[in-house]
């Protein structure tokens, strides 16, 4: 269709994330939107496709000492340390607020050991009001010397299996890019029963204060996020889409609708917006609006016409 084609009806933006259908493909990334309250003055939460809350563990975690963040070119490093109130406190004190809104709530979960994951998953499944679970496997497995669960296909599969065993909720596994081949991990969690995968989590990086010759972060290393990582995230999404049949959710440096469209065209079923909200609290709403305007301008009645529509060299 030429640029002149204008749709007279509102395009359908709903997408199915492996069992959870959300009204549009735009979600907030875990750890960047708290539990919704902080951004409620800026964003009508009812408009979001889904709200992924800060990662939850069984016990409350204090997080790392400051400094926890450092700006970089085109992004930032964070070493928050997975601070969270614990799953019970979330269910009692944070979930009621979120239930007021017409938005799918996705709980991001993690553990220090494999056993912790299903405990957290089960508590959330029983709580009601949670639409899906997103499993963070980028955190260190303390029983294996701190190697990330997601760095090893077998650990990643084991965590996935343990979570799937205890819940009927769709299970999205969030992959770490700090591996040799993310598609191997993706295939491994798919075989273990994951209903969808989201990628990428942050890229591990660091920064040094040259005047005092100390790392800027108390944790020394941190996760790099923001537009600087977007080309890596996009490439990994594109590669993963080719290797799995389950939905792939794209995340990593998406700042605006244009960026989001790249991921959808590459095959992402949905996108997450993270760091962008820090510098533009309305980023999520602008992305939703921009995707809708694109579909109208291109005469697409359904977002599924766009997803995976990348024209690759040599294709007919």
């Amino acid at each position: 269709m030429r640029g002149e084609a204008i749709l007279s009806i509102k395009p359908s933006m709903a997408v199915d994330l492996g069992g959870l259908v959300i009204k549009n493909p735009v979600m907030t990334a875990a750890g960047t939107f708290g539990f919704g309250e902080e951004y409620a003055p800026f964003v009508d939460l009812n408009k979001l496709g889904a709200l992924i809350v800060k990662g939850l563990s069984w016990e409350a975690r204090m997080g790392n000492p400051p400094p926890r963040i450092r700006e970089t070119i085109g992004g930032m490093l964070n070493a928050i340390g997975l601070e969270n109130p614990g799953v019970k406190a979330f269910i009692e004190k944070k979930l009621p607020f979120l239930k007021q809104f017409d938005v799918a709530v996705i709980a991001n979960i993690f553990g220090e050991t494999v056993d912790e994951y299903p405990r957290v998953a089960e508590a959330l499944s029983r709580a009601g009001g949670v639409g899906a679970l997103e499993v963070n496997i980028s955190c260190p497995n303390v029983r294996k010397g701190g190697i990330a669960f997601g760095a090893d296909p077998d650990s990643a599969a084991e965590v996935t299996r343990q979570v799937k065993r205890v819940t009927d909720l769709p299970v999205i596994v969030k992959l770490t890019p700090n591996v040799t081949d993310i598609t191997v991990i993706a295939q491994s969690v798919e075989a273990a029963g994951a209903d969808a995968v989201s990628l990428i989590n942050t890229l591990t990086g660091m920064s040094i204060d040259t005047e005092c010759r100390k790392p800027h972060l108390s944790n020394v290393t941190g996760g790099l996020s923001g537009p600087a990582i977007r080309p890596v995230a996009l490439r990994m999404v594109w590669q993963t889409v080719k290797r799995v049949s389950i939905p792939v959710i794209g995340v990593g440096g998406i700042m605006n609708a244009e960026d989001a469209l790249e991921f959808l065209i590459a095959g992402a079923r949905a996108v997450q917006i993270g760091t962008a909200s820090f510098i533009n609290p309305q980023a999520t709403l602008e992305v939703i609006k921009g995707i809708e305007e694109y579909l109208i301008r291109h005469g697409m009645a359904d977002i599924r016409e766009l997803i995976g529509s990348l024209i690759e060299p040599g294709s007919v």
Partner: protein, 274 residues
């Protein structure tokens, strides 16, 4: 006064003047709908449509005025790094995104007879806003005293003092080039016995070493003291948890609270020092 919900609005520079080496005073014109801030609150300041520097910078509100069709936000800031350096180079007409007002303001005690402000360097910025607030309420009638201790490294680094005209202003410089010779905390400490904890309130803002020294001076004295802290921020609204600072309860147990949300104003007795 009710604290209103923050918003992000466009601000246009009206003027941006150097007031001391490395220190600038910027006036930004905002829509009249910008919520009226309370002393102690801050804004996340970012240049519109620029991706470098990436994050907004948290700057204390120095003063605010609303007219019928616009509002003026005044910032007094020090060039501390890449972001503030960029701000200092902007002239009239430059566009900024202003997210605010943010944070817990200073707690005002309307019937407290003696209000003492202890300002180190650029710490004077939010305290000037607080002083004008107290002056406009009952303290302006002469019923109570507002005393300001303002200190800096040397006389060229003293800023924001015009805000305290007609008040009891006591100046100090580390090198003795103006006023009391020594740190602002020593100047205040010298007068400590002339104040009564029962009818005074202290507010402080300045470098971390100054606050630490002040907490040592006040320990066990019974003086109430509110401190405005700072920390590097990303979101400014409490979502990212990047600005956590350590507090300590009576049993010595440490907890983290967000400078942008539970702060920036904290009770000096709650602060934890490494």
């Amino acid at each position: 006064m009710m604290k209103l919900e923050p918003s992000m609005l466009s601000g246009i520079v009206l003027r941006n003047l150097q007031v001391a080496p490395g220190h600038f005073l910027m006036d930004l014109r905002l829509p009249a709908s910008f919520p009226a801030p309370l002393p102690g609150q801050f804004c996340m300041i970012r240049m519109t449509e620029r991706l470098e520097p990436f994050l907004g910078r948290p700057l204390s509100i120095h003063s605010f005025r609303r007219r019928k069709d616009s509002a003026t936000l005044r910032l007094l800031y020090r060039v501390a790094g890449k972001g503030t350096l960029l701000f200092s180079r902007q002239g009239k007409g430059a566009a900024f995104d202003i997210l605010g007002p943010l944070g817990k303001p200073f707690r005002i005690l309307p019937s407290c007879p003696t209000v003492i402000l202890v300002a180190g360097g650029i710490g004077v910025a939010p305290l000037a806003f607080l002083a004008s607030h107290y002056r406009r309420s009952n303290h302006g009638s002469g019923k109570a005293a507002i005393i300001i201790y303002a200190g800096a490294g040397d006389s060229t680094k003293l800023v924001g003092l015009k805000s305290f005209k007609d008040m009891d202003l006591r100046v100090s410089t580390d090198d003795g080039s103006l006023g009391f010779h020594g740190p602002v905390t020593s100047h205040f400490e010298q007068d400590l016995t002339s104040y009564d904890p029962v009818n005074s309130i202290i507010y402080a803002c300045g470098p971390s070493a100054m606050i630490r020294r002040l907490s040592e001076i006040l320990k066990g004295t019974g003086f109430a003291c509110q401190v405005s802290m700072e920390e590097r921020m990303a979101c400014g609204v409490g979502a990212c948890l990047g600005c956590a600072t350590a507090l300590r309860d009576g049993d010595g147990k440490v907890r983290y609270e967000r400078v942008c949300r539970e702060g920036p104003v904290f009770d000096i007795r709650d602060l934890s020092w490494e």
